[in-house]
């Protein structure tokens, strides 16, 4: 199994801690979060101490789509290294948690609350040295 996470961790640059993900043999993407053994809260990125109750008893869980688009914005002014315009929004996983991610390959017309989103991995930013920086992203679920 190959993951883009390894590539990020191999770099010596300080990277934003956006959270880890996995890509399986069927090219399905899962976010690595944590579930609290005490209160059941699911968090992403991973938190060893539960964000909700403070318990230290948490285990890694895989968060898979589809997610439901809650709200989004089309961003026009961005630092260098991003495509413009760039869409970001919150996808909600089963009433458990919302995750903010870029939304790619979506036309303006199809963006609306309730849209089904799948996880994918792609280039989010090209950094100052020209290196492509990957992240998890959302894309409209193919029928």
């Amino acid at each position: 199994m190959t993951t883009k996470t390894e590539k990020v961790e191999a770099s010596t640059k300080i990277r934003p801690r956006i959270g880890r993900w996995e890509v399986d043999d069927h090219n399905e993407v899962a976010l690595l979060g944590t579930r609290c053994a005490a209160c059941g809260e699911v968090a992403f990125p991973e938190h060893q101490i539960c964000v909700n109750c403070g318990s230290e008893s948490t285990e890694v869980v895989r968060i898979k789509g589809p997610a439901t688009l809650r709200n989004y914005t089309i961003v026009h002014q961005l630092p260098p290294g991003y495509e413009r315009p760039w869409v970001v929004g919150y996808g909600e996983f089963d009433g458990q948690l919302s995750v903010l991610a870029p939304i790619v390959a979506a036309s303006r017309d199809e963006l609306h609350e309730g849209l089904s989103l799948s996880l994918c991995v792609g280039v989010t930013k090209v950094d100052d040295d020209g290196e492509e920086m990957y992240s998890y992203q959302f894309t409209p679920t193919k029928a």
């Binding site: 990277r15 934003p16 801690r17 089309i74 961003v75 002014q77 630092p79 970001v88 903010l100 870029p102």
Partner: protein, 378 residues
């Protein structure tokens, strides 16, 4: 705890000072506040400074220029809430009885363009710029409560109209609804004229015990409440309110309780309008109107000068400008002068009680880093 009063205020006209350092301009606000208060400079027991970009011991560097050092000088950083935080720290020092007179200064020199994020602010890497954060709050409010683009833009029109009456405002020109809506999009639905400009500035307050306040200076303004809170984890997917709103609600409730007041007691307010949606949400989070009715409040003119509850008579962040660390102090400069009936063309008639609110410091997981609410009375 002792009662604490604002007895002097000062600020420089906000603007862009590319050739100047903090040391060149912040001292002017300090000198104005000192002479406004009438206290002898030797009476200052402590100084609290707020800046996010000012570097190490910024307060000492400014006060050295005034030959005014030796006492404890505290340098505070709390992003957009830094100014409010420095007032809270000064208030604690006087309320506790440790000092009788404290100097509180907010000051900032801003970088042009978007405020650069911290490395740990991971959502910004994904493309969630600061305007995008507020745009997401706006889009949610539009979906849930039917807030309109026009209502959002009206906040900017209203605040620019007030700023046009403020000689200290960075932008002293009115704008039309059409100009706001047709300015270039930054993060939809927010357009350029709905985002605060890049502004440098400094503001200062002298706060003191009742005994000192009786003896000197302007009509004293009592700090009826001083509250600082930090954000906590909330999960909107489970129906909880967003961390950003929850933070302002908790700060507001604690301030009303401390003052023994309620939202309807407030005659004039300065709230955090770094983006238009911020002001709409502040109305609701601070109890000026029920949840979902913030858009109507601005549309009906309730929060305009001449309305029942004028909000941001200084011009707000949108027109006065938003030098991060200076903002919370500048709000209280504006409001204490309003309560002293010294505000000229933008005077809110008969104002007895005022509220100041700032919040900021984008912090994924807990929404917003810090918020302060101050309630002032005469």
């Amino acid at each position: 705890m002792r009662e604490v009063f604002v007895i002097g205020s000062g600020m420089i006209p906000f603007g862009r000072f590319p050739q100047l350092m903090l040391e060149d301009f912040a001292g002017k606000a300090v000198s104005e506040a000192l002479s406004d208060s009438g206290v002898d400079r030797k009476q200052i027991g402590m100084a609290v400074f707020s800046t996010s970009n000012g570097g190490r011991v910024a307060g000492q560097r400014v006060l050295r220029e005034l030959s005014l050092t030796g006492m404890p000088i505290v340098n505070v950083e709390n992003a957009c809430a830094g100014g409010g935080t420095s007032l809270h720290v000064g208030w604690m020092a006087v309320a506790s009885g440790l000092h009788d007179v404290v100097l509180v200064v907010g000051m900032e020199k801003m970088e042009k363009g978007l405020i650069p994020p911290n490395p740990g602010e991971y959502e910004s890497f994904l493309g969630k710029t600061l305007p995008a954060k507020y745009a997401l709050r706006a889009s949610k409010h539009m979906q849930r409560y039917g807030l309109t683009k026009e209502q959002l833009a009206m906040v900017s029109v209203k605040n620019h109209r007030a700023g046009a009456l403020n000689p200290n405002a960075h932008y002293q020109e009115e704008v039309t609804l059409e100009q706001v809506l047709l300015s270039r999009p930054v993060a939809e639905p927010l357009t350029l004229l709905q985002c605060c400009p890049t502004t440098d500035g400094a503001a200062a307050l002298i706060i003191a015990s009742a005994e000192v306040a009786r003896r000197v200076g302007q009509k004293p303004v009592r700090i009826a409440a001083s509250v600082l809170k930090s954000g906590i984890y909330r999960n909107p997917a489970k129906g909880q309110s967003a961390s950003d709103d929850d933070l302002a609600e908790r700060a507001g409730l604690a301030a009303y309780e401390m003052a023994g007041m309620q939202p309807s007691d407030v005659n004039v307010a300065e709230v955090h309008d770094a983006f238009t949606i911020g002001e709409i949400l502040a109305y609701e989070n601070l109890g000026f109107c029920p949840r979902g009715e913030g858009g109507r409040l601005v549309e009906e003119g309730v929060t305009s000068l001449g309305g029942r509850l004028p909000v941001n008579p200084s011009g707000g962040r949108l027109s006065l400008g938003h030098p991060l660390g200076a903002t919370g102090v500048a709000q209280v400069v504006e409001l204490s002068r309003q309560l002293q009936a010294r505000s000229g063309a933008r005077q809110v008639g008969g104002a007895k009680t005022a509220l100041a609110h700032v919040q900021g410091g984008s912090t994924p997981g807990i929404g917003t880093g810090a918020a302060t609410v101050h309630i002032l009375t005469v």
